[in-house]
């Protein structure tokens, strides 16, 4: 079942920068697609277009925006709300009645393992815990499409790998259609069913790699020869993208 489809999306900014040039993309539920590319190649702009935060210059985007999760680069938490209240925010803004949202809020908190921290405020949380909280907030409404704008970029390597493992577990349970953006090739290969390499200025899709590791994936596949070879191929394409 197709959850997201983009046709001929192009985006030119008022200053003439062509951020995205003629991008086509279809993602089904149960697929996890990652886009890697140089900084400033329009990856984030693409997510903003899909979510409706920005209008493309041309092209069409078919997605159910009522069932969309969006995880930002930063955790984007309200500093005056504790963890539970922050997780509740999206559902609250969407007008889900209080009694109805309690159960799904608790479920999301369990899913990201923040049970022991629900009354803490953002400034009391580590970077990893903030991202979990941010993730939980989007999980509450069980969206069909999940957009991730480089969510773990600011975290240390250990925390990032740990969160990757947990994100995959959540993905297996929720079976959403995922679109993930990252600079890390390892992260892309580990998480995805497909990895797309994007070039910059203009932002185009220049290659696509299918990742066949079966689910559930164990952390140790990161050390397999096959994994290394995939990373090498993607890395090679990325160098072309930079050129």
């Amino acid at each position: 079942m197709t959850a997201l489809s983009l046709h001929n999306i192009s985006m030119t900014f008022p200053d003439g920068t062509q951020a995205i040039d003629d991008v086509d993309l279809t993602i089904k539920r149960g697929e996890f697609v990652t886009i890697v590319g140089p900084s400033g190649c329009g990856k984030s702009t693409l997510l903003r277009i899909i979510s409706g935060l920005q209008q493309p210059t041309s092209g069409t985007c078919e997605v159910n925006r009522k069932s969309l999760g969006y995880v930002f680069q930063d955790s984007v938490l309200l500093p005056w709300r504790n963890v539970r209240k922050n997780v509740e925010l999206n559902a609250e803004l969407q007008g889900v009645p209080k009694e109805q949202r309690q159960e799904s809020v608790q479920k999301a908190i369990n899913l990201v393992k923040l049970n022991d921290h629900v009354t803490k405020f953002p400034h009391q949380l580590s970077g990893g815990m903030k991202m979990r909280c941010s993730l939980a907030r989007s999980l509450v409404s069980q969206p069909q499409v999940f957009l991730f704008d480089e969510p773990f970029g600011a975290l240390d390597e250990m925390t990032r790998e740990h969160l990757n493992d947990e994100l995959l577990n959540i993905f297996l349970q929720e079976k959403f259609a995922g679109l993930f953006i990252t600079h890390s090739i390892q992260e892309a290969v580990f998480l995805s069913t497909r990895v797309i390499v994007m070039s910059s200025q203009p932002g185009r899709f220049i290659s696509e790699h299918t990742i066949d590791f079966p689910f559930p994936r164990v952390p140790d596949i990161r050390y397999s020869a096959e994994f290394a070879e995939l990373c090498g191929r993607i890395s090679h394409d990325l160098k072309l993208a930079h050129a």
Binding site: V76, L78, P79, W80, R81, L93, F121, H123
Partner: protein, 291 residues
């Protein structure tokens, strides 16, 4: 004793000891100047009395109905009322106008230049106009207080509203939040630390505004400014004048501490700027427990 508590205790002592040392130095200079500048004691007392003379002659006559602590406190009461009420009105109006400006660039552009002008006009230079419009009693003093207090409230509130995190705005947009929801659940709480900073600045202005207004509008229930002004006119009452002035400024300090305390309560759990307040040297002005 643990090292960390030792350090924190040292820091606490220094936040008390250092200002006290400054105060002692200040008093010493005062005594030295008063002693060597004036040859005869009467002349000194009528120009720059020794601090202890201010205490004995300005404050101490406890049963005097005209001068001393009791009449000073009697004159303080209207000043306290005008200051609080004026500050309250300034906060309500300032927040309201800032919110309107935040909702519409058009409103901001039409009103903001006049807010600046309002701030730069020397209000007491238009005393006759104010008398014409508002009389000479407590009402006009309230108006002066509001006029001097509203600008910092309004500009800080507007700044706070407009510097709301863009990513948080995006989040609210993604969830189709209404303008009203955005205002109540995002912009107001974001602006709270800025607003409190504005109120803190305004509280000082409000005290000065209400005291100085007494100098120019002296009918009806008179405040401490009236007491100070009338004691200025006779050199022999110099200690009384200083006593009134010191009481008014102690009230200003009390307002500053009070607003600081309310601020730390209001944003205690969550705001980065609260951490800045905690670490600032104003710590002594906040309750010492719970740190």
């Amino acid at each position: 004793m643990k090292l960390s508590s030792q350090i924190s205790q040292n820091r606490r002592i220094s936040t008390i000891v250092l200002p006290v040392i400054t105060f002692i130095v200040f008093l010493s200079i005062w005594y030295a100047y008063a002693k060597f500048h004036y040859d005869n004691p009467v002349q000194r007392r009528n120009a720059l009395p020794y601090p202890h003379e201010i205490f004995t002659d300005g404050f101490l006559p406890l049963n005097d109905k005209v001068n001393g602590l009791r009449p000073i406190l009697g004159y303080m009461w209207p000043t306290v009322k005008v200051t609080f009420l004026g500050l309250l009105i300034a906060v309500v109006l300032g927040v309201f106008v800032a919110t309107l400006m935040n909702l519409s660039k058009g409103i901001e552009k039409s009103l903001f230049p006049y807010a600046v002008i309002l701030q730069t006009v020397p209000i007491l230079a238009i005393t006759p106009l104010l008398t014409e419009l508002f009389g000479q009693e407590i009402g006009v003093r309230l108006v002066v207080t509001v006029l001097v207090a509203i600008f910092p409230v309004m500009t800080n509130m507007l700044f706070g509203l407009q510097s709301t995190d863009r990513a948080l705005h995006d989040l609210f947009t993604l969830n189709q939040a209404s303008r009203w929801t955005r205002l109540i659940k995002l912009e107001f709480p974001s602006a709270l630390p800025s607003l409190m900073t504005g109120i803190r600045i305004a509280s000082g202005s409000a005290v000065i505004g209400s005291v100085v207004a007494d100098f120019f509008f002296a009918k009806g229930e008179k405040g401490i400014g009236y007491y100070i002004r009338t004691r200025q006119q006779q050199a022999i009452q110099r200690p009384e004048m200083f006593a009134g002035t010191i009481t008014a400024s102690l009230f200003g300090i009390a307002m500053f501490v009070l607003i600081g305390w309310i601020t730390s309560r209001a944003i205690r759990n969550w705001h980065d700027s609260n951490l800045a307040i905690r670490q600032s040297s104003f710590k002594i002005l906040r309750p010492l427990k719970g740190n």
